[in-house]
């Protein structure tokens, strides 16, 4: 399964991609919202993990744009939010995310969410 991981912090990016690769996923990465949109359009991943606070175009905008695009709208998106403050969760779902998870990431919990979206 190909996952596009969008995260601007290099350590978070490194940690998460290594752990996902270890679990058998193919991971491609982007470090800002604009790059994420470009990558999603060209690679058409099976799932997108999107950190919400991103430079250039932020996560919410990027999700909205991808969900409005015919070619990408079907790709499930899991939004990653920092500290599950009420506002973050609602905004993630309103932007069109299919699910959300909180950081720091509990890898088992995240994998569970990835799998349940993949099974849909």
């Amino acid at each position: 399964m190909r996952i596009l991981l969008v995260e601007d912090n290099p350590e978070n990016l490194d940690m998460l991609s290594r752990r996902l690769v270890r679990r058998g996923y193919q991971v491609s990465t982007a470090i800002d919202g604009e790059a994420a949109i470009k990558r999603a359009r060209t690679e058409l991943p099976d799932l997108i993990l999107m950190d919400l606070s991103l430079p250039v175009i932020d996560g919410w905008q990027a999700i909205r744009i991808l969900k409005a695009e015919r070619s990408c709208a079907h790709i499930p998106v899991i939004a990653l939010t920092a500290h599950a403050m009420a506002g973050d969760r609602e905004r993630a779902l309103d932007a069109g995310a299919d699910d959300y998870d909180t950081k720091p990431v509990d890898i088992e919990r995240l994998v569970g969410k990835i799998q349940s979206l993949a099974d849909r």
Binding site: N9, E11, N12, M15, L16, R18, R19, R22, S53, R64, K67, A68, E69, R70, S71, C72, A73, H74, A82, H83, A84, M85, A86, G87, R89, E90, L93, D94, A95, G96, K103, P104, V105, I107
Partner: protein, 631 residues
Amino acid sequence: MVFTPGSSLEPESHDPARVLLDSSPIAAVITNPAGELLFANRRTYEIMGVAYGAPLPVGVELYVNPRRFGELVRKFAANRTLVDEEVQYQLPDGSTIWCLVNWQNIEYDHQPALVVWSYDITHQKAVETAIEHARDMAEAASRTKAEFLANMSHELRTPLNAIIGYSQILQEDIEEAGLKGPVSDLKRVEAAGKHLLGLINDMLDISKVDAGKMEVFIEPVNLPRLFEEVHALTLPLALKNSNQLAFHIVDKLPNIRADYTKLKQSLLNLISNACKFTQNGQVRVEAQVSGGNVRFEVSDTGIGMNEAQLGRLFQPFSQADASTTRQFGGTGLGLAITQRFCRMMGGEVSVRSVSGEGSTFSIILPTEFHESSEKPGLTILPDAPKIEEAGSRILLVDDDPEIHHLLGTMLEREGYEIDHAFSGEEALVRITEQRPFVVLLDVMMPAMDGWTTLGRLKADPDFEHIPVIVVSLLNERPMGMSLGAAEVVSKPVDRSQLVNLVRSFSGAHRVKVLVVVQNRDERAEICKALPARDFDAIEAESSAEAESKLTTLPPNSVILIDSAIPATEVSELLTRISAEAALKHIKVIVQTAHNAGRLDADLIRDSGAILLALGQNRQAALLELLNSFRR
């Protein structure tokens, strides 16, 4: 009136009463009903800063603020006495002092007279001002600190996440390499990192709440789902101490409304406490609705608490006592946060406990959040509106009951319903209870005058769109129009002119929304929420029905198409709307879910339609969007 020499004043006297009066630290001035000075004691001349026997200012001349004098005169007339009023006097030399004054009716020299007692409190006033200033500065400093902490959040958490994450990766690396040794050390690093993260999160929560920057999002809460999530999260914790964990919902519960995240965090806090302080015991979580409240009880068979421990329980960082913190871990902030969260949701958390036997924590929340318990930073997502349609309601604001009778009867005969307000303040209250379609506002009113009221009405986003017809005595049209009045008429009011004017405002400004939603219940829900925001809802079950109603829509209307309508039909509708001149200005909102991919993106873009992704807050987002069209 100024005292002139040759009156009955005698500077030297041995009359005991006089001696007493002249030694008083309180200035005493006696005047007759005409305002002429009859007597002033020695202290009066002292505080006025003039020589004994010199002319003294009396009455309104004394007052820095003449309106204050008028206010006191009115009060005195009403109560026959004036007690401990703070006033600012202006002295003959131009300086000002603050005095505490009392007025009394007396008989002086067989005449009715007024005595004014004045006690100089200038010094106290200065101290008071200084204290207020110091308090404001302290509050500002405290807010700044809280804001600083809140902003540090990202900075503090990022490196911690790296510590936790990499120690987890290292553990995986080691296990993969088949080693065992260093794993437990790394587990300690991970645990310490998580503990620190918990502390930071809790501290930031508390300072956010205390800085008034914590928002509350009230929304419908699915209790079974909430319990499932909480159960999954707390089961490992319960098993750690070999505890049994049980969840129970009493009866089939109606929907409750609360802040989901805060309720979940509060329950997690209570349950994790219960699990921590119980060994080989039971933790039971129960939810029950009675009256207008929902009650959550988390009870355990753990070590319990004594009176002293219970007293300190909800204070930050006083986890029962210091030894328990060391033994049981935790941040010591959880309960303080839970208490704040419950209060923000209009509820409360309480506890019963017996040392050695166990504890029961209870959270009580209202099932429907009431605006009276509103706190700053509150966002309430609209549910079913409680306000009826505004179509025929007029708010009449005038202090004169005669006008209410005259105009009210006249307008009622035309078929309108009238809300009566006799003051600006009352008008601002009435308008929130029942939304009128127009306000008739008299300009000449005591207390909050008409212009101020007009300003307040136009400044409030909830009512700024309601037209206000100003009724004034003089020609004040430019003033009225510049303050935002829709029209200005002058007294005496021409009856037919007023009726025609009112009629011109009814219905004209209500934006029509064509709600094209297949599902009947969903459609009804949306249509119910619209009139409260002054939208007229028109229903359509299908795109065909919508098409038939298109020509009835005025240009400023809005069409809402839901995600169940097939993409091809949506395209047809959009094509038609873009093509016809009469329909071109109608705004279209298309709700999207998984159909987004199938909609014609080019057509959407060209037609200017707006996509609204379905999410948790669909209704709030929709209303927000509709409201934005109005501006």
